[in-house]
Symmetry: C2
Subunit: 142 residues, 2 copies
């Protein structure tokens, strides 16, 4: 994958300002969204100038699919959600990024989607965030 990964790749400031860095995989940079209402992970493929999945060469798409699947498995085993919601939207942030959100029957928006104008937002408290970052970084780098 090294031939298509950009060394000077920049993450959109909308993502870096609302998320915390967890680690790098062969294609993606992995983030935790700082929103205590939903366990929410984001993958950003480190490839320049792509907006849609079919802009990515096939081999890199397969690797991205592996990374989506791996992050789904980590999210399921760690958070034990009732359902995952996965989305590639990009209406507001141009850079291609993939949301993986753990949903629960008792969460504040179940069973609706979370991408709506009235999306509830609250940062994690610092103790919880420290634990989450440590645990998730260990799983992502293992």
């Amino acid at each position: 994958m090294k031939d298509i990964i950009s060394r000077d790749f920049l993450i959109d400031p909308e993502i870096t300002s609302s998320c915390l860095y967890l680690g790098d995989w062969p294609i993606s940079r992995v983030f935790l969204k700082n929103n205590a209402y939903f366990p929410w992970l984001i993958l950003v493929p480190r490839i320049e100038n792509i907006r849609e999945i079919d802009d990515i060469p096939q081999k890199a798409r397969y690797q991205l699919m592996d990374e989506i699947s791996q992050l789904c498995s980590i999210t399921r085993s760690y958070f034990q959600p009732d359902k995952l919601n996965i989305a590639y939207l990009g209406n507001k942030v141009n850079q291609l990024h993939i949301h993986i959100v753990a949903r629960f029957l008792e969460d504040i928006l179940w069973p609706e989607g979370i991408w709506q104008p009235a999306q509830p937002t609250a940062c994690y408290d610092n103790l919880k965030l420290t634990t989450l970052l440590s645990d998730l970084r260990t799983k992502i780098l293992s």
Copy 2:
């Protein structure tokens, strides 16, 4: 893929009641959602008892990624949208299915997600629907 495709596979009635059949690919059955507000395609992997992407064996996941990418390309070339929105949600319909929705800067919900309680719904008129089905079936089966 024949070893994991179920011959007796049933599509959830929530999908069949709101969508029209377009064709079968090696993994997926492809549908057009009958909602004139958004060009909206749905892929249903014909595998029993899967709810999440990481329940699918790797080889079949790669094939599914190819089919998602192919349907993205067809949707982009036919509808010329400003953005695609792709989502695997499954909060209301248990069966794993993938939405590919063509979004436009002037559509009724832009730039918000379309999966919200107040989602606008209207059937295509019959002439438009006939053209869409004919054109999309040709592209999907070619």
